[in-house]
């Protein structure tokens, strides 16, 4: 169905792209397509042949009319019919090859783009994800690439084909009769103007429709979710009126698009008739002057639709192309975002064991490249100032201090989530900046506060700790923490789907999964961010026991929110205002009577 609704969806400011940007995108796209250039060339060649077959039809009709009907030659009529049939079959065959080739090439490209963008995305530093909104990044991988998918599966063939048909037809009819061509193409500018007018007006109108639908739907949703309050206060009438207003607004927005189409499509239809009239009228003058044969007039009438339809379709495809271009520009922007904690060329593996040493480290957030919207994030206030601490192999160190003191930041630097502005973090004498990414995550693992679960089974979730682990190793990790009984009590044991309704895991159980992951990863250094929120009393004890088993024999840095955790560690570092104020064992610090002693005294009183 044409018109009334349009196929490619409206274009908002977000999905527009200016000419210069479009050129950059095209150049880069061409470069990216270079590995597939063979396939692109084949597809283009096929398209040209198919278009040629399409254009040959009216020429054959012309020959059949002039040499067959006018000259009264039955054999020419037969030959013309056979030729037409052959050309039509060829056209269909090539058409099939075109669709298949263009789709396959396009889908190949899209698959490559998807995996490449995602690989780049997951490889970026944590700072990047703190700057960007998750929703926008998801959109790069979904709606933006989907816009390209639409282009590949529908738009691209239509676009190229329409251009070829229009230009090809123009060339052929000019060769047949330039005089009649001149007369015919006067119909093109008004149709073109009308088509552009329609595209612009209907675009605005469809944006209105989109807004009106979303506001109507939110009234609807409110009315349904709030129905109990509405009824409790007997306000059904008022709410129905409110809905009717947004409902009518949606109708109005919709009917406006119909009005616009109602003005445009009659122009299209009249242009079609006008085209025939012009060809027949001018043709008759030319024929009577013996400048033309009647078959040519017939061929011209048949060619008319080859001139008119591309104009309508191209003006509609413009939106698809624009949004695809804008989407590509955004995707390229993402691919250009550099990783601010890259793996240095010639990076070395970290030694199997060693001390974790923080030497004179200063750090502030921000100061990285602008985000993908081009917004700068200037360097923020200093979070850590000249911090030094050495953690011996197998030692457990707790970081304590008020919120915002910099203890979490210090922990993240120890795992190279960020690089320090000044100073150095090293493991076994090798700076983390010089380490390979793989060896870094093999030695140092960070267990975040909340146990985030991915879709899949419990087993899949534990495997995050080491993708190559087999079931036996996963079960060994679970056993090592004494969690087998707990996990097997779930509906389907380790094969329980964690996201399914009814098997919702509690916050404590999520923590247990997180610890099992860490046990599977089996690093030498564990960086733990203790949960601030309290867990359900049942699992709290289990979490503590599992933690105890997990940290056994490993170097541990724990961001402690509970002093009971700190008390169990070998040493405690009191962090405040970006510095380590006190450092020593729990007993030493309590005996010293400083900051930690005060905190501890307050805490023992409250328990």
């Amino acid at each position: 169905m044409r018109g009334g609704w349009i196929e490619s969806g409206p274009l908002d400011e977000e999905s527009r792209i200016d000419r210069a940007a479009a050129r950059r995108v095209l150049v880069r796209l061409a470069r990216m397509l270079r590995p597939q250039r063979g396939a692109v060339l084949v597809a283009t060649a096929l398209l040209v042949v198919q278009t040629a077959a399409l254009l040959a039809g009216p020429l054959i009709v012309r020959w059949g009319v002039d040499a067959g009907l006018v000259a009264r030659n039955g054999r020419v009529v037969n030959a013309a019919a056979i030729a037409y049939l052959v050309v039509a079959l060829l056209g269909a065959g090539f058409g099939r090859a075109v669709i298949w080739n263009v789709s396959r090439t396009g889908e190949d490209f899209l698959r490559g783009l998807r995996t490449r963008v995602f690989r780049h995305l997951t490889g970026l530093d944590l700072g990047f994800f703190e700057r960007e909104k998750t929703g926008r990044l998801v959109a790069r991988m979904t709606s933006d690439i989907d816009a390209l998918q639409e282009l590949v599966s529908q738009g691209l063939v239509m676009f190229v084909q329409n251009v070829l048909i229009f230009v090809g037809t123009l060339v052929v009819i000019t060769l047949l009769s330039w005089e009649l061509t001149l007369c015919t193409i006067i119909v093109v500018p008004p149709l073109l103007a009308a088509s552009i007018w329609f595209r612009n007006r209907s675009n605005t109108a469809y944006l209105n429709v989109r807004d009106s639908i979303s506001s109507n739907l939110s009234t609807l949703q409110e009315g349904l979710e709030g129905v109990r309050v509405v009824q409790a206060y007997g306000r059904e009438g008022g709410f129905i009126e409110r809905f009717e207003a947004t409902n009518e607004a949606q109708y109005e927005a919709n009917i406006e698009t119909v009005r616009i189409a109602t003005r445009y499509f009659p122009v299209v239809e009249f242009t079609g008739v006008l085209g025939i009239a012009v060809v027949v009228g001018a043709g008759s003058v030319l024929v009577s002057n013996d400048a033309l044969e009647v078959g040519t007039v017939l061929a011209f009438v048949l060619y008319l639709s080859n001139l008119f339809e591309p104009i309508q379709q191209l003006s509609q495809l413009y939106n698809t192309l624009q949004s695809a271009g804008a989407a590509l520009a955004k995707i390229f922007g993402l691919l250009d975002t550099p990783n601010s904690v890259p793996e240095r060329p010639g990076a070395v593996d970290l030694p199997p064991t060693g001390a974790l040493e923080v030497a004179g480290v200063t750090f502030a957030y921000g100061g990285g490249p602008p985000d993908t919207d081009g917004i700068e994030h200037p360097l923020g206030p200093t979070v850590l100032t000249d911090v030094s601490i050495t953690v011996a192999p197998g030692e457990r160190v707790a970081l304590v201090g008020p919120t915002g003191a910099g203890k979490s930041t210090l922990a993240k630097l120890m795992a190279r989530f960020y690089d320090p502005l000044a100073g150095e973090v090293s493991y076994g004498g090798v700076s983390l900046r010089d380490a390979t990414r793989a060896s870094l995550r093999e030695r140092i693992v960070v267990v975040p506060q909340e146990g985030y679960l991915f879709a899949g089974t419990l087993r899949d979730n534990i495997r995050v700790g080491d993708p190559d682990a087999d079931d036996a190793r996963i079960e060994a990790a679970v056993d090592a923490l004494g969690l087998r009984e707990h996990f097997e009590s779930l509906p389907e044991g380790l094969d329980t789907e964690v996201r399914e309704r009814g098997s919702r895991l509690s916050a404590g159980e999520k923590q247990l999964v997180s610890l099992a992951r860490a046990a599977l990863a089996d690093p030498t250094v564990l960086v733990l961010d203790e949960a601030t929120s309290n867990l359900d009393p049942g699992t709290e004890l289990e979490v503590e026991r599992a933690l105890e088993a997990l940290t056994e024999g490993r170097t541990v840095i724990v961001v402690a929110h509970r002093l009971s955790t700190a008390a169990r560690c070998d040493r405690v570092a009191v962090v405040d205002e970006g510095r380590i104020l006190e450092l020593g064992s729990h007993d030493e610090l309590v005996a010293r009577g400083g900051r930690y002693a005060t905190l501890f005294a307050a805490w023992t009183r409250s328990v």
Binding site: M1, G4, V61, G64, V77, A81, L85, L89, A92, R96, A97, I99, W100, S103, L110, F118, T122, V138, S153, S218, L224, G226, R228, Q231, Y233, G234, R235, E236, G238, I240, E244, N247, V258, A261, T262, P266, E269, F270, V273, I276, A277, V280, G281, S284, V285, V294, V297, V301, L302, S305, F417, A438, V445, P448, Y452, L453, F454, V464, N534, D536
Partner: protein, 589 residues
């Protein structure tokens, strides 16, 4: 199967009923469609005549006359086309809009039990995607009518000249319809599967980004990359499957009309040589075949769309056919003035699931008395509260307000005298002021402010960016649970009811702030019958009397102190509630 057929039939009745008010537009649309068809059929005839009578005989004057007539019909065709399109879309949009309004109004009046069962998402789908299916079939009906007329006209014209030519030229075209139908039937499941793969892919993206700290912490980038690659491969496979179908069918759909043209050239050509046809006719027939392509494809679309639409309409009908279970009585009696004396007599209640909640409850609240109902989870406390404003009706026994069965008075009058504050507060995306005045839209501002003060809400409202005009709710400023509850209390206060029901209405209020509203609540409750469903002893203390509910009956009554002293069960229930509270709020760290 029969049920489905019945639902579809009901769906068609619904569509017919909804389009009936627009008969004038339907008639105009059909008339315009007929005029459009006639004009379209005439133009090729004129073009053919111009070629034969004008060009071939060299009569330019006659050509000009024919062209003038042709342009006249062109104007008619264009005008009729516009009117026809406008009518078709208007009818469809009007039908969709009216049905949506009807559906919404009906849903607003349906009883609580219906909404307990129904999912918002599903009802939204009824009002959105299902109605769009209906819209599209309604558009297609008048458009297809004109298409059928066009087809009929073309067939008549061709057959009148030569039956054989008509058969040769048009014989293959039904295959076009068939091919289009088969194509859409085959590609629809593939496209659905593709959508599914795409959403699976976006699921991997979303969770990888939401869980990026885990991914980074464990170095699980490679694992997620591989999971995505699997999804990308699946998308690729599905897309190619769809492409393969397009590659088969699209060229075929384009080929069939061309074969008709070949037939016209060949057999028509020989007819011309035999003198039974003119060259102009060949031109006209060519134009006719081009004219038939869309109508034939549209008939296929209509059939597919009709099936989707009738199923959608059946689902909508099912909602509309649900009668509100709580309705005005046939012979309503007015609610007499009174102090708000509330009496439950042998009240039993079971939910639709069959779970018996109340079994023979007897309870009496004297006018102006404040009674707290205490009971373990599942004891039926909330149900007691919801029977008063008839959110549900009793299964046995009766609820009397000032001596009248609540089922005998008009629902609106009853609810006007009962104010309820729910545990889960619902606020609308609107200003604070309108949210409070929701219970009494005409209330002057000073009354709204007074209600807010009484609910202990004025302080934080005044501190909001735009005070009482601050927009809150889903699309606005977000408030804490306790703040939301205080706005809901203000709403009930403004309502000024005879009976006030606080259903766990202060559960989310920070305990340190609770004393503020407690004194305010005491003032509000003064002289009003109040039913308090409470957990916290502090809130229970607001009541004059406490009723202990156990297994759907009132098992003990007295003051808080009396019950503590005499009832073992009461102590048990309170202890359990305190345990739960402690677990929820956690111990201080």
């Amino acid at each position: 199967m029969d049920a489905e057929r019945e639902a579809r039939r009901a769906g068609w009745r619904l569509i017919r009923g909804a389009t009936r008010p627009q008969w004038s537009w339907v008639a105009a649309g059909i008339a315009a469609g007929a005029a459009w068809t006639v004009a379209r059929l005439v133009v090729p005839q004129l073009a053919g005549a111009a070629v034969d009578d004008g060009i071939r005989s060299g009569d330019t004057g006659r050509v000009l006359v024919l062209i003038a007539v042709m342009l006249g019909f062109g104007v008619l065709q264009a005008g009729a086309s516009g009117i026809r399109r406008y009518c078709a879309f208007r009818i469809a949009l009007r039908t969709e809009t009216d049905l949506r309004a009807q559906l919404f109004a009906h849903l607003q009046r349906l009883h609580f039990a219906f909404h307990d069962e129904a999912q918002t998402g599903q009802l939204m789908a009824r009002a959105n995607s299902d109605l769009q299916q209906i819209n599209q079939v309604v558009i297609l009906i008048p458009l297809t009518a004109a298409s059928l007329l066009t087809m009929l006209g073309v067939i008549v014209i061709m057959v009148s000249k030569s039956v054989v030519l008509a058969v040769l030229a048009l014989g293959l075209l039904p295959l076009l319809n068939r091919a289009a139908t088969v194509f859409s039937r085959r590609i629809t499941p593939v496209n659905l599967a593709l959508q599914q793969e795409l959403s699976g892919l976006s699921g991997v993206v979303e969770e990888s980004l939401s869980g990026i700290r885990v991914v980074k912490g464990f170095g699980a980038e490679r694992m997620q990359n591989e999971r995505l690659a699997v999804r990308a491969d699946a998308v690729y496979e599905r897309s190619l499957q769809a492409a393969r179908m397009r590659a088969w069918f699209m060229p075929l759909i384009d080929l069939l009309p061309t074969i008709s043209l070949v037939a016209i050239i060949w057999y028509g050509g020989h007819l011309v040589l035999d003198g039974r046809l003119q060259i102009g006719d060949i031109l006209a027939y060519n134009l006719y075949v081009a004219m038939l392509i869309w109508p034939l494809r549209m008939v296929g679309m209509l059939i597919a769309q009709a099936s989707r639409a009738s199923a959608a309409a059946g689902r909508i009908h099912e909602v509309l056919a649900t009668d509100p279970e709580v309705a005005d009585p046939h012979h309503p009696v007015p609610l007499p003035p009174g102090p708000g004396d509330l009496r439950f007599e042998g009240v039993s209640f079971a939910y639709a699931t069959g779970r018996q909640v109340l079994g023979g409850l007897d309870l009496h609240l004297r006018g102006g008395e404040a009674v707290a109902i205490v009971g373990a989870t599942g004891s039926g406390k909330t149900t007691v509260a919801r029977l008063v404003p008839r959110f549900y009706d009793v299964s046995a026994g009766r609820v009397l307000l000032d001596g009248v069965d609540v089922r005998d008075v008009p629902v609106a009058a009853l609810r006007d005298e009962v104010g309820i504050v729910f545990e889960d507060t619902f606020l609308f995306s609107d200003s604070v002021r309108h949210n409070i005045a929701f219970s009494d839209p005409g209330a002057p501002f000073d009354l709204v402010e007074r209600a807010a003060r009484l609910a202990g809400a004025h302080g934080f409202i005044a501190a909001l960016p735009d005070g009482y005009d601050t927009v809150i709710g889903e699309h606005g400023y977000s408030l804490s649970g306790g703040q939301r509850q205080r706005i809901a209390i203000a709403r009930a206060v403004l309502h000024d009811p005879r009976v006030l029901i606080l259903d766990d209405a202060t559960s989310a209020v920070d305990p340190s702030k609770e004393h503020e509203i407690r004194s305010a609540l005491a003032e509000v409750m003064d002289g009003r019958t109040t039913l308090i469903i409470a957990h916290r002893p502090a809130t229970i203390a607001l009541a004059d009397r406490v009723v202990l509910l156990d297994e759907g009956r009132a098992v003990a009554t007295g003051t808080h102190e009396e019950l503590l002293a005499t009832s073992e069960r009461y102590r048990e229930v309170l202890a359990r509630i305190e345990d739960d509270e402690a677990a929820i709020e956690g111990s201080p760290s």
